[in-house]
């Protein structure tokens, strides 16, 4: 196997991008999984996609459009989720389909070739520039840093929002913060992973980690490890078989999830005389 490809600058950029994007996305994924709002990722990534297309169509930076649209989605999702007026699945489903509709509308209105649009849809980690990497690094550091600083508030909010409020924590603010971070992460990973596929890099590593541990800290760690591995193994397969990297990254993360689900100790039916859960996880 000729691995000299990894000495090229573009490949190194891709490896670093997969590392940073993997960490940011999979950390966000832990919120999405534990808050039982898997649709947040879908709705946000399609909002970002629609915003990016608006930028392409009107000729401004697609990332700005993507960020503005995902914040807009957060501003709509937040109150709906917070007040529970509609079930989160319903409201996120409505936003998801609306954003997809808007995205295709912009695509239709766009003159000329649609290659730029398709690139955002599928992602192209191999063309990431230094600027992309810096942006990804900033988001990854901010996401991980905020989780570290506000760990106890985040943990309580994830566990039970009303309880967190009742002990005097700003749970509503934390929820909005999480939505904002999701928007920022989706936006910056959009070019690398692609609007269609980013959702699985958010959901799969965290869902895999969720199968394997009863410790929230360990879940954050495992999720990040799975996210980075998905990116790196995906890149390798993309190169070996000459197939799109976005697709291989997503398939890898799905395989990791399936393996975790199959081997999950949480699924095992308890037999008499088995070590208790606390012994197994301490």
């Amino acid at each position: 196997m000729d691995l000299s490809i990894f000495s090229y600058q573009f490949m190194q950029n891709a490896i670093i991008s997969a590392f940073l994007g993997g960490i940011a996305c999979s950390t966000i994924g832990v919120f999405v999984v534990l808050l039982h709002m898997p649709f947040i990722g879908v709705a946000m990534s399609h909002a970002a996609f629609a915003g990016a297309l608006l930028g392409l169509w009107l000729g401004f930076n697609p990332l700005l459009g993507a960020f503005a649209f995902s914040l807009l989605a957060a501003a709509v999702i937040g109150p709906l989720a917070d007040r529970g007026e509609l079930s989160p699945e319903t409201s996120l489903g409505v936003i998801f389909s609306l954003m997809l509709g808007i995205a295709f509308l912009f695509m239709g209105l766009m003159p000329g070739t649609k290659s730029g649009a398709l690139e955002i849809l599928w992602g192209s980690i191999l063309t990431n520039t230094r600027g992309d990497i810096i942006l990804l690094a900033v988001v990854a550091v901010v996401v991980v840093g905020l989780v570290f600083i506000f760990y106890k508030e985040i943990q309580a909010t994830i566990f039970h929002r009303d309880m967190a409020l009742s002990v005097g924590l700003p749970a509503t603010l934390i929820l909005y913060g999480v939505l904002f971070l999701t928007g920022a992460t989706v936006t910056t990973s959009l070019r690398s992973i692609g609007g269609l596929l980013i959702f699985s890099l958010i959901l799969n590593p965290a869902a895999a980690a969720y199968q394997l541990t009863y410790s929230m800290k360990r879940m954050f760690l495992l999720s990040a490890v799975f996210g980075v591995l998905s990116g790196w193994i995906g890149l390798l397969f993309s190169y070996l078989f000459d197939i799109p990297s976005g697709a291989t990254i997503v398939v890898t993360s799905s395989v990791i999830f399936m393996l975790a689900a199959v081997f999950s100790p949480k699924r095992r039916v308890k037999r008499l005389k088995e070590p208790s859960v606390e012994e197994a996880y301490d």
């Binding site: 943990q155 002990v167 410790s215 929230m216």
Partner: protein
Amino acid sequence: MSTTVINIEDAVVSYREDIALRGVSFRVESGEFVGIIGPNGAGKTTLLTVVNGLGRLRSGRARVLGNTVGRRNGYSLRKQVGYVAQVESIDPRMPMNVREVVMIGRYGVLGLFRRPGRHDWQIVDEMLELVGMTHLARRPIGHLSGGEQQRVAIARCLAQEPKLFLLDEPTASLDWKAKADILELVRQIHDSRQLTTLFVTHDLSALPLACDRVVLMKQGLISSEGSPGKLLTDENLSQLYDMPVSAVQNRRRGAVPA
């Protein structure tokens, strides 16, 4: 000498079309154990949310622990008010153990940017001991029974070292034994920690017998209050629940209606 810790004057709270409280005035002295009873939808839970600052007053005034409750001081107020709600189903795979959940009670008191230290874990372990849950301290929280979860909720509430102890239907959906045990535990804790306790229930059999005072609520108003012996008469209950006196008598004696 006792001091007034809760003083609510003419409180009105509404959620969209529904008026939950229609001008309720209510005082509680330090150290009292007050039972609040009434049918579903009487405004009992709303009254508790006025006390911990989560309920928004349309009009009226609430002073709790010496401060007028407003939007600004909600967080600092809630740090001094323990709140136990009814059992809710918890995701059995939730990656948190019992000890960590009890620690959430310390989080508000600790404040931002401060991590729990040895002192906080000591308090948590003490409270787990108090509610008899030490043996389950490292069990995932989603694996506990309803009665065990309520004990954990009480420990979490006490880990806050609250001045006020609010319980909102803490025994709903528990079996008969678990219910009796929780009632006993609440009373013990009230006495030993010299708390001021408000205990809300729609279920007469879930009212701790040793309440100092009972408040009857119906349709967003306090219909009467007084000592349990005087107030919980068949006539009063028949009015509260819109039932004939004879039906109340039958039910209170556990008789099967003919």
